[in-house]
Amino acid sequence: MTAPDPLPPPDRRSLLRAAGASLALAAAAGCDDPQEFGAPLHARPRGVSADSASYATVLDLDGLGRGVLARTLGGHAIKLEGNPRHPASLGATDVFLESAVLALHDPARSRHLRRQGRALRDAAEFETWLAAQQAALDLRGGEGLRLLTGPVASPTTRRLIAALLARWPAARWHVQAPMEDPAAAAGAMLAFGRPVVALPALSRATCVLALGADPLGPGPAQLAQARGWAAARAAGREAGRMPALIVAESTPSLTGAKADRRLTLPPAGIEALGRAVAAAFGLGPAAAHPEAAPIAAALRAAGPGALVLAGRGQPEAVHALAHWLNARLGAPVRLVPDPLAAPAGTLAGLLAQAEAVTHLLILDANPAYDAPAGLDIAGLLRRVPHSLHAGVQVDETALACGWHLPLRHPLECWGDSRAFDGTAALRQPATVPLVEAAIAPDALLARLAGEAADGAAPVQATWRAAWGADFEARWLQALEAGLIADSAPAPLAIAPRADVALPPPAPAARGLVAVFAPDATLWDGRFATEAWLHELPRPLGGVMWGQAVLLAPRDAAALGVADGAVLELTLAGRRLHAPVLVTPGQAPGVVTLPLGGGRQVAGGMPGGIGFDAYSLRPAAAPWVAPGLALRPTGAAQALVGHLPERALAEATPRVRRVAAGEAIPPLPTPRSLYEPWRYPGRAWGMAIDLDTCIGCNACVLACQAENNTPVVGPEEAAMGRTMHWLRVDRVESGPPEDRSVDFQPVPCMHCEKAPCEVVCPVNATVHDAEGLNLMVYPRCIGTRTCSNNCPYKVRRFNWAGYARQAGAVPVRNPAVPLRPRGVIEKCTYCQHRIKAAGEGVAETACQRACPTRAIHFGDINDPDSAVARAKREGRSYALLGELDTRPRTTYLARIGA
């Protein structure tokens, strides 16, 4: 039997010409019951139309919530910003949160009920089928029913699943969590004998040893951890004693880029280092590692400021010894129950009893795509007589199941969520429902559990039970705050066993080691439907609209391959073709395979962007698998966005590094024959702290979402025509084996002596009285001379009418005009936000998004403003200051050698 007829295969340009249903359709749907909407949190900003509002809600990544404020206009969510009160956001966002409004408005979202992959207009047949199956299951007590979900921490969802299992006691719940690390749970079991997670307080850590851990990298806790790390840096700068971050990793990460000391080790080498450090503190058998002694000394010296983190890919022994070391050192770690721990089986467990399955309900999971190699999901779905998939997108699983039900986007739903630390928060609809046929996931479960399923009823039932008489007051309070106060579990006062028995290290394997990694922009593949994320250069390597396996320069030389060469990867008899990116800082013998690519059915995106590393991923060893073989195929593939690094021998390095307390001497101001322009009122300026910038790209996407910056598509991106107003440059220095990486966000510098303005023939770019370098789109005739004369190359040109072409990104901020074909555009310092703020504090979108608050913006004429204070710091400097363009955007040097 062949697979059900999939969606028509999108042609190459379909992402830009995808189905035209956009805001018009959304507006047509905008007549829903106002009761469905939550209460606005903030007063309407001045200067914005009357129906603007902000809703506090929560979005999940891997089942863990991050609080956001959704700004809406006319009932439509326009932009998400972090909820400052939520512990997993702290006011910041990451690239996944920023792209949620795009996913919400995606014209290619699932809009229809489907049977065998074919869209149905009429729900009657489905209702009949569902009623029949419920009746059948009732008769058998749920025998043969399996529920497969993604990771779930939401109290309501879990309550409903429990209720469903109560109705059908013989049914079983399984969780498919491709990003989960079983070794972390096993390590906690080893150390504590129960499933706990350790929450590090990086703000209080003065010496951090990361054993393959990437606390600053993307993930559900990134925003909180990055903020904590930045706070520790700030305190260190204040005190003149910088905290130390020692990172041992096999593939470059954001944390590695910010490390004070970075060790490039294969996974087994990291384990050996961890065991040696633990041995130095008396845990486990004596083990030697050349780096262990100084690291152990540093940890010991830091005392209660020391912190050891074990990451993905490390065996349970390393996780256990990290727990043990933290306890021993008195590290700033809080132990809490794992919010994701659930009485559920795994996907492998589901397949083990595949014969018993008669009914399969798949909720918000895509096992047909992201199951490990060797698990025959396709066979299971073919065999199971009754399968129902519910999802926001029509994905691989939706087409393989008997029935598919469109789900509402979380921004359209009621619900709740728990953050990585267990803090609960309520989810409320922040927009009119854009898909009529869609149903909220909790509503589906409530219906199956036989409960009231309308609107907020399921989530209210959960919290009514928890709060009792207090419900009404606390409910409103929780909605307004965007979180439920004091809902985080109390820290567990437990200590690891003194006699942790570390299992012996695995025998050394031959051949190359395959390291699987979440993709920096596609994550586990669920974001492969988002054009913004495809076109976002990955922080390391810069590749967009595709993926590459990472190979150490030495291994690449041995194979005789260069960037873009397509390799055949063979692991346990399975083969995969993928282009290579030669990556300095990659451990020799280690090949990193990003997951999340190669989706065949990815909404409006063309299929097959990147490659499907899941097809090689062993179920038993999901993160590190030895025995990989590589063979060059002779083919090559252009890596869009990747440029061979070009280290310039610069007179003054573009990213400066200073010692703590050291000041950069100011450049002499060249004398001029002419009177300078004065800015007596407000003078806008920006200071970007390169010490705390972690290169996470949140600012880039925040800017894109805020300013309607268009997506140009893979062909145009390959030509170098991406439109991001703000880019984060990766600046590499040092030898290939010990490469040091800096991140430098580069927006428009708003130079007081703007070279771009002088060469414009038509006054299309001029200064205003507050020092903004304005771009007057209607005046621009498109000579592009300004770009030639911009030494920072921050100007972007609309080679085509990207913003208005068919299939252009359907979400638009009405406060920012769309730019027509043939004009230049660039960063405006969020001019519309300045105007909207009036006399209040203006915040740019990039500044708002930054998890480490590395971007300061404000009036430099006000000596008390944060930006003025930042610019007074000794480590403040202007990029290319020697050109005397007097940029208003300046940088704060990185502390370190």
Binding site: L643, R654, R721, V762, I781, G782, R784, S787, N789, P791
Partner: protein, 437 residues
């Protein structure tokens, strides 16, 4: 003494049949011109996305071809002007079609600054006219300078060509009338403005002709300089050089002279004008091309030497241009513009059209490579590392180039069809002086 007849020259445009070769040439160049029309319509319809340009290579064939055509126009008119001002013997033979070539080249060039715009239909916003927006051009911009430059270039080149043409149009009027082709005579007569050869008119005409020629000279230098200033006033290290105007003017010379040389050879053969464009003329033209090439050699060497002595950024920028991704263009230009034309010093080479003409055309191609190297290769090393891939021209850009070559050829063919290709009055003047006892 009725010996100094310029009949073959004046009779050429009056011929009813130019032969199949001419027809074929017209058809070919008209086809290319139609291609240009297609390319222009496609560009207006689809926008500059059709090109291979990006950030940072925002300029591609638009500016490369613009600067190249301007260089040809410049060198050709410079050559004609110098002949007129020095009252050189060669002038009667070649200055008319040198002027015509300049005019055709400048017309081909003038298309590019308009088409290069993101919104070409708004090009007139660079003109200071009282617009409803109450906004004016930004006069500090080199592009506004260039607007005046290219406009003056077109107008002054045309004036120069036309001033010299008035008496010859009168001859055509009279020859056409004598052959009974009164309609044609009327058209020529209209453009001859009633010229009747009054010696007083002649005196003032000569004064005006030399005056316009004298104006062309600084105009050429300043127009080409302004084109160079579009690059030199930017902060791009390889462009931000005081030598750039000189370099652009100087390297333009071999291309213009090469094109004139090729045209002279074509006219000799094609129109049987060997008597008017004789071997000595060809010889001199070839030597001038070789000398201009030598001057370019100096400019190239000086650029390398000075860059070596300059600051780090400039040195790296020069190195990137000469040895980076576009190195082939740079050295190809050096070979075709500087080295190859040196062969023209050999009598055996320059006396044979089959050698001299390809060398002249190769010099023109070499200068095109030089312009490519400047516009694209000059950007290889900017102040910050490059953020985009390299520039490579797309098919629509090549179409546009082929189209302007067609336009250039068509204009010259129309010129040979309707206008005397050699300055008749000057030829007569010369021959009378030669005949004088």
């Amino acid at each position: 003494m009725s010996g100094f007849s310029t009949r073959p020259v004046s009779d050429a445009p009056l011929r009813r049949d130019f032969g199949w070769r001419f027809t074929a040439a017209v058809l070919a160049s008209a086809a290319l011109t139609l291609l240009l029309a297609y390319a222009v319509v496609a560009l207006l319809w689809r926008g500059t996305a059709l090109w291979g340009t990006n950030i940072p290579f925002v300029w591609g064939f638009d500016l490369i071809n613009y600067v190249w055509w301007i260089g040809i126009a410049n060198a050709a008119s410079l050559f004609a002007v110098v002949l007129v001002l020095r009252r050189h013997g060669l002038r009667s033979a070649v200055n008319r079609f040198a002027e015509a070539a300049a005019l055709a080249a400048v017309a081909a060039a003038a298309i590019y600054p308009i088409l290069h715009l993101g919104r070409p239909w708004l090009f007139y916003w660079t003109v200071p006219y009282p617009a409803a927006t109450q906004l004016w051009p930004q006069f500090r911009s080199t592009l506004v300078w260039d607007f005046w430059g290219i406009m003056s270039h077109v107008v002054v080149t045309f004036l120069f060509w036309y001033t010299g043409l008035i008496p010859d149009l009168a001859t055509m009027r009279d020859r056409a009338a004598a052959r009974g082709r009164l309609g044609l005579a009327r058209i020529y007569g209209f453009f001859a403005l009633g010229w009747r050869g009054s010696v007083q008119h002649w005196a003032r005409h000569q004064a005006a002709y030399r005056m316009v020629a004298a104006m062309v000279l600084p105009m050429l230098v300043s127009a080409q300089t302004i084109v160079a200033l579009e690059f030199a006033t930017t902060l791009v290290p390889e462009w931000h050089q005081a030598r750039l105007p000189l370099q652009v003017v100087a390297t333009g010379l071999p291309s213009g002279l090469g094109v004139v040389l090729a045209l002279a050879a074509l006219l000799r053969g094609g129109l049987g004008l060997g008597r008017y464009i004789d071997d000595a003329d060809m010889d001199l033209l070839a030597k001038l091309t070789a000398a201009a090439a030598l001057a370019c050699g100096y400019v190239y060497a000086e650029a390398l030497l000075v860059a070596w002595l300059e600051d780090q950024a400039t040195r790296q920028a020069m190195a990137a241009r000469a040895f980076g991704a576009y190195a082939g263009l740079y050295w190809g230009a050096a070979l075709l513009v500087v080295v190859l034309p040196q062969l023209l010093w050999l009598k055996g080479v320059r006396r044979r059209a089959r050698y001299a003409v390809p060398i002249g055309l190769a010099a023109a191609i070499g200068v095109w490579l030089d312009r490519f190297s400047l516009v694209a290769g000059g950007l290889l090393r900017d102040h910050l590392p490059r953020t985009g891939p390299l520039y490579a021209p797309s098919l629509p850009e090549w179409t546009l180039l082929a189209g302007t070559v067609g336009l250039f050829a068509l204009m010259l063919l129309v010129f040979t069809r309707f206008v005397p290709v050699v300055s008749m009055f000057e030829t007569r003047h010369e021959e009378s002086e030669a005949d004088a006892p």
